[in-house]
């Protein structure tokens, strides 16, 4: 069976670079992660997450700069509020909150990116596909 799709929203200033670094170092990470570059984790509205689910994603990864390092100072703090609210809402509605993962990956952290991506792929594989709509 096809691996369930994961959409990854990656902040331009840190995590996207981190993913690049992982690529340069030829670290392996799962092919079913589709990355979308955003300017900041704070740009990721939870609506995007729901939209990704609707279009067939089974998991969504949101990666930003480590707290304190956001290029726009507070984008990732705000993202944490919104994503926490989304995860809490999903949990209460009986949809596994692990389908949404918020994590921090710095520009130089290629290995960390690969680790997070692999863990996410395992989690979603374990949960199976999400059938929204």
């Amino acid at each position: 069976m096809k691996e369930p799709t994961i959409v990854g929203f990656l902040c331009n200033w840190c995590s996207y670079e981190g993913a690049d670094r992982a690529g340069d170092a030829r670290l392996e990470y799962p092919a079913n992660i589709r990355t979308v570059r955003v300017m900041c984790s704070g740009r990721v509205e939870p609506e995007f997450v729901l939209h990704a689910f609707r279009e067939g994603a089974s998991g969504v990864l949101i990666l930003g700069c480590h707290p304190g390092d956001c290029h726009y100072k507070m984008g990732n703090y705000k993202a944490r509020r919104r994503i926490s609210l989304l995860k809490k809402t999903l949990e209460q509605l009986g949809i596994e909150p692990e389908r949404v993962r918020l994590d921090w990956v710095a520009a130089g952290e290629g290995e960390r990116f690969a680790k997070v991506a692999n863990e996410m792929a395992d989690t979603i594989k374990g949960l199976g596909p999400l059938e929204l709509s």
Partner: protein, 371 residues
């Protein structure tokens, strides 16, 4: 807390309209925004009243809530603050929704005063328009006994039916007061001044009423935890949610009548524009066996629960407006209670409490990050 007893021989509405008249006559209130029965008799609308004579026929506590009062106030202050003093007479959930809208800059509270009443709930609007006379009688019974059939389901579980945690200026207490009597209380400083200027002396002790409010609240809180735990089995999980919303016809009425949903262009209306190409749908249908069209029903409801869960005041407007009897507001209560607890947020309690998604702390919520 102190207050004044008012005589309600002609019912609550008559008693309160007399108070409104003296407030208007005293000159401290320029206009009153208050529900009033339409001429044909079968429903109620909000009127902005300047002519004191028209206050004779107003209905401060109508049996139904066809328009959520926050919406009325929103359209009055759409272009900013009002220059004259307006007293808004509303149910507690309507005041709370107004506060939530004010935090979103959709309502301007300058020169706006609020009066609320102990609310036993609202009857279903559709039932009411079918037989206003019978339902008027039924509502009178509900007012006397503080219970009865046909209320909005969410009203049965509402713990904010009085003035605690509701930032009003004036409040009319009804629970457990003697029949044909009510108490009026100046809750805020401005409220006290208003009553003083209108010559209504508030020196009576109202602790007996407060005790009754507590009792009634305990009962409603019990109803609420019962309903929420029942919904746990019915609503949790994608399959259950699908069943719960199975009858939904995608009319989006629930969104349009919600007092807090204010966006002029809803993300979930426009999101359907971002469709996949047909071949992608075929691929999806192939993978799942079949897919529902249009495909945005669940996204719409989940999105609204995410957007509104924190601020939902539990007025039940969504459910009242739903043509298919989808238990929308009950699902909102089920999800909303939990997220409100997480952020220690009580919607509509105070304009000083920021909406949790518009603020943050640097060191918090680590349980939701995976780092």
């Amino acid at each position: 807390m102190t207050g004044a007893t008012i005589q309600a021989k002609n019912g609550v509405n008559g008693a309160v309209s007399a108070v409104l008249k003296s407030l208007k006559d005293s000159g401290c209130v320029d206009a009153v925004l208050v529900p009033t029965r339409v001429k044909s008799g079968e429903t109620f609308v909000y009127l902005l009243i300047r002519n004191p004579k028209m206050l004779d026929s107003c209905a401060p506590l109508p049996p139904v809530m066809p328009v959520q009062g926050a919406r009325a106030l929103q359209s009055l202050t759409r272009h900013g603050k009002v220059e004259q003093t307006v007293l808004c007479v509303m149910r507690p959930c309507e005041v709370r929704a107004s506060i939530e809208l004010a935090k979103r800059r959709q309502v301007d509270l300058e020169n706006v005063l609020f009066m609320s009443l102990d609310c036993p709930g609202a009857l279903r609007t559709r039932d009411y328009v079918n037989d206003p006379e019978a339902l008027d009688k039924r509502y009178q019974g509900i007012l006397n006994n503080w219970e009865g059939d046909g209320l909005r389901p969410t009203c049965e579980t509402c713990v904010h039916f009085s003035c605690e945690d509701v930032p009003v200026d004036l409040h009319v207490g009804l629970v457990g007061t003697k029949e044909e009597e009510a108490v009026i209380i100046g809750v805020s400083k401005r409220g006290e001044e208003l009553l003083d200027k209108a010559g209504i002396e508030c020196s009576e002790d109202v602790s007996a009423w407060q005790v009754e409010v507590e009792k009634a609240r305990d009962k409603k809180a019990g109803n609420r935890s019962k309903v929420v735990s029942e919904l746990k089995d019915k609503a949790a999980g994608m399959d259950n949610l699908g069943l719960l919303f199975a009858d939904c016809i995608n009319c989006h009425n629930c969104m349009r009548v919600c007092p807090i949903c204010y966006c002029r262009q809803c993300f979930f209306d426009s999101s359907d524009q971002v469709r996949l190409r047909a071949e992608d749908y075929f691929a999806k249908a192939q993978a799942r066996g079949g897919i529902r069209f249009p495909g945005d029903m669940m996204q719409f409801h989940l999105g609204r629960i995410y957007h509104m869960g924190l601020s939902c005041v539990g007025c039940g407007a969504c459910e009242d407006g739903c043509p298919m009897d989808v238990p929308v507001s009950q699902v909102f209560a089920f999800a909303g209670d939990e997220v409100q607890k997480t952020f220690d947020y009580v919607p509509g309690r105070s304009t000083d409490e920021p909406i949790p998604t518009l603020t943050y702390e640097e060191d918090e919520l680590h349980e939701y990050e995976d780092a």
